[in-house]
Amino acid sequence: MIEVQHLYKSFDGRDVLMDINMQFRDGQTNLIIGQSGSGKTVLMKNIVGLFTPTKGKILYDGRDFVTMTKRERVMMRREMGMIFQSAALFDSMTVLENVMFPLDMFSDMNQADRVRRARFCLERVNLKGAEEKMPGEISGGMQKRVAIARAIALNPKYLFCDEPNSGLDPKTSLVIDDLISGITHEYGMTTIINTHDMNSVLGIGESILFICDGRKEWEGSKDQIMGSTNEKLNSFIFASDLLRKVKEEQMSG
């Protein structure tokens, strides 16, 4: 479980995150939602240690990430996997080499086992046969799947996804959502997903944190979100005509 306690972050005196408190539980998909610029990515970067919080605690199963020594942080990071908005694949390496990279760096497996493990991860994300392709030769959806395979190569305890559906068509987005959700349940990982895609929210949002202007506005699940009375949340989710009509039909029916 990852717990964020009274987290603040400011840049040059400008507050970007204010008093964020949240528990991200094991074995379920935890979503952070909010408009662009609301502070979602900054929150995630604080949680994974790419930014240092101005104030507050980030606890990984009770271990405070903020006060850890450099060495402890490095060890901690080996328990994390991350999928970036842009996939962030190493473009000088093939698909297989990308997935093997964390194994090459941190595992004591021999070469044959590392290749076997990388191929298994690629099969898990339905990418068998793409091993020798370069990242530039495959589609955006495939790149995201390679990123997922790379993220799970070392069997991480914590998985972070920063807008994994950005730039993908709705059908491919569903595939990515299903993969992330499936892997989370299969391995019992603590998964945190940043998104503003309402399909993801309603599809895999087992726990949802809504942030607006750097503050926590609402917390709940996909079953509670449509019935929420929070004005800011409603203005965010019902910005979509489709969802507004669904809500109106629910109210009238």
Partner: protein, 247 residues
């Protein structure tokens, strides 16, 4: 204001070098990267070094013969001056200025692109010391390859000078006497030492500019230009210092 900015940049450069100059986490990965960098920064530069050195050697020889050599001077003057210019300045300093353009911009844009496409963030999240993983093989690879490039440059310059004899500018015998006249092997070593320092400057300064890029492709281009300008300036300043030290 300028001094403060410069000091801040220098401090950041030193901090980065502190992270770069640490033992690799996996020697296997370091060795793989090191070989790759020697090929892309060193071997891929051999062509341009040979080409430019050949023509500069030929041009120096022609210029000296036409403008300096006279009836009052010994016949070996042209060969002697050509050798001294190639050994003392061209094959170390000027060649490194050329490499600052080719290799420096390559390094800055490669690392800068990795920064803006979050590849460096991905390394950090995995717990990899991204500075050491990316920059150390480039620095060591460049410093390993530069002595070879210097020797190739010297030889290509001399071949260029001999090529002028085909056009009848100078006789091969006069050139040979000049090239061998009062030869001091130390000049070759000094040239290699100087260029090794320049190789460190080119690779580390270019990496610094690439590593701290913020923004998008426009900023990568700017970082690439800054890398070439800064490393060229530093090469010129340190050339004065090294020349007086090694003379």
């Amino acid at each position: 204001m300028f001094i403060t900015k410069w000091l801040a940049a220098f401090g950041r450069y030193l901090q980065l070098m502190g992270r770069v100059l640490s033992l690799p986490e996996r020697w296997r990965m370091f060795y793989r990267q090191y070989v790759r960098e020697m090929a892309s920064l060193g071997v891929d530069s051999i062509g341009i070094v040979l080409l430019i050195s050949f023509f500069i050697g030929a041009v120096i020889c022609i210029q000296i013969k036409l403008n300096i050599q006279s009836a009052w001077m010994p016949t070996f003057t042209t060969g002697y001056v050509t050798r001294e210019i190639m050994l003392l300045e061209f094959s170390s300093s000027i060649m490194c200025l050329i490499l600052a353009g080719k290799v420096g911009s390559n390094i800055a844009s490669e690392i800068g692109t990795m920064r803006v496409t979050q590849q460096i963030d991905a390394l950090e999240i995995m717990g990899v010391n991204s500075a050491s993983f990316l920059i150390l093989p480039k620095v060591i690879g460049m410093m390993t390859m530069i002595p070879f490039l210097v020797v190739f440059s010297i030889v290509a310059g001399f071949v260029g000078a001999y090529a002028t004899s085909i056009a009848g500018i100078i006789t091969p015998d006069d050139l040979t006497v000049g090239l061998l006249h009062d030869f001091t092997p130390w000049f070759v070593y000094a040239s290699i030492i100087k260029s090794t320092v320049f190789a460190f400057i080119i690779s580390s300064v270019a990496s610094y500019h690439g590593y701290f890029v913020e923004g998008g492709s426009f900023d990568v281009g700017k970082a690439s230009t800054n890398a070439v300008v800064s490393s060229s300036m530093l090469i010129l300043f340190s050339d004065i210092f090294l020349t007086s030290l090694l003379a």
